[in-house]
Symmetry: C2
Subunit: 216 residues, 2 copies
């Protein structure tokens, strides 16, 4: 390990870089952008083994990107402050404009389909020809959702497809910009003859662009 005089400084700076250098940590941060979660919930929601979720969270905490609080037997993690999701967004934008492979991966997994932007949807919330469905878990919906949105987790959507009207456009959203659930919902809906589009940026994107949430 060679040593230029400024190395200790750059080593510290690299600690923050490293925090964003693994897919698992990035995923966890994205899930946490939606709100506070226990380790188990995170593990479940992110699709990452529990032990590993815990281990990666330690690292995120060491980098001061998340904080935790104990409540009885479980521990809740949340983003350390509002600059974290902000920076995460900057990182995403920066990465998107640079890596064609990232854009490809996104379009392959998420949106061969054109999405609705938050701003466009905001202008159409009152429109009776637009229906908004929230395909996240019922818990997430309970914690906060778009005004007028109906809670229909993917499983439930499958069962209750018949109940959905044919004469409106359906906008489906899930957690964050890389969430794969809403595009799946949209494909399912289209296969059953409905007009449907996903919301770009998902719930966190909506909140991040300053639009209002439902009162509850």
């Amino acid at each position: 390990m060679a040593g230029f005089p400024e190395e200790p400084i750059y080593q510290q700076l690299a600690r923050i870089g490293k925090a964003f250098a693994g897919p698992v940590r990035l995923r966890l941060l994205d899930v946490l952008t939606e709100g506070e979660r226990t380790v188990e919930e995170l593990s479940e929601e992110a699709g990452i083994a529990l032990k590993n979720t815990s281990a990666q969270l330690q690292q995120l905490r060491a980098a001061h990107l998340v904080t935790s609080r104990r409540e009885g037997t479980r521990i809740y993690y949340r983003l350390a402050d509002e600059r974290v999701p902000l920076f995460l967004g900057q990182l995403r934008d920066f990465a998107h404009e640079r890596l064609a492979d990232l854009r490809d991966a996104v379009s392959e997994h998420i949106d061969s389909l054109e999405g609705v932007t938050a701003d466009e949807l905001a202008g159409r919330l009152a429109d009776p020809n637009t229906m908004v469905i929230d395909v996240r878990s019922a818990d997430s919906y309970a914690e906060g959702h778009l005004p007028g949105a109906v809670s229909l987790p993917l499983e439930e959507l499958r069962d209750r497809l018949d109940e959905l009207p044919h004469d409106v456009e359906i906008v489906a959203y899930c957690g964050g910009p890389y969430c794969v659930v809403s595009p799946r919902a949209v494909r399912l809906l289209r296969e059953h003859g409905r007009r449907a589009r996903p919301l770009e940026g998902g719930f966190t994107g909506w909140r991040g662009s300053g639009h209002r949430l439902a009162d509850h």
Copy 2:
């Protein structure tokens, strides 16, 4: 290696994170913020072995953070576009507000001394009681420098200390925010009875905050 469905996306995103996850690459990016450099110059200026400099540059290029052009037998690297130094600044700010260890490392190596901000210095350029010296290499000075600055690389400064006036405040600057040369110069000057302060953010900080450079 476990697999949640969004993993390929986050893996791509992590590529950008990884690019900022090593002290050597961060250092190279900082040097490149000053301007275009050959591999050898970079190796020299950053204090990193030539082979390794080359290897790390390949990675930066793979992440589209730098581009290169060939001129005769040497190859010049530069930042891919103006968003790279911008993002680098955002990363630095984000890291600074989060990591006390980083702030400590900076104050230990750079500024136990209070610096002059670019804005403050800008207002004092015309003041005859302020003298600005550029302690970078003569080459760097030739490529661009602050209006009214005198080129005095550290070695030369040592030899010509006697020539400097006692009745003005001397502001010394070098490359970037983490450059250790200007604080060294300031300490040297103070030991010899001058009033001196470093410029915060160095040359790149000055340019980044939109102040004008010397005409040449």
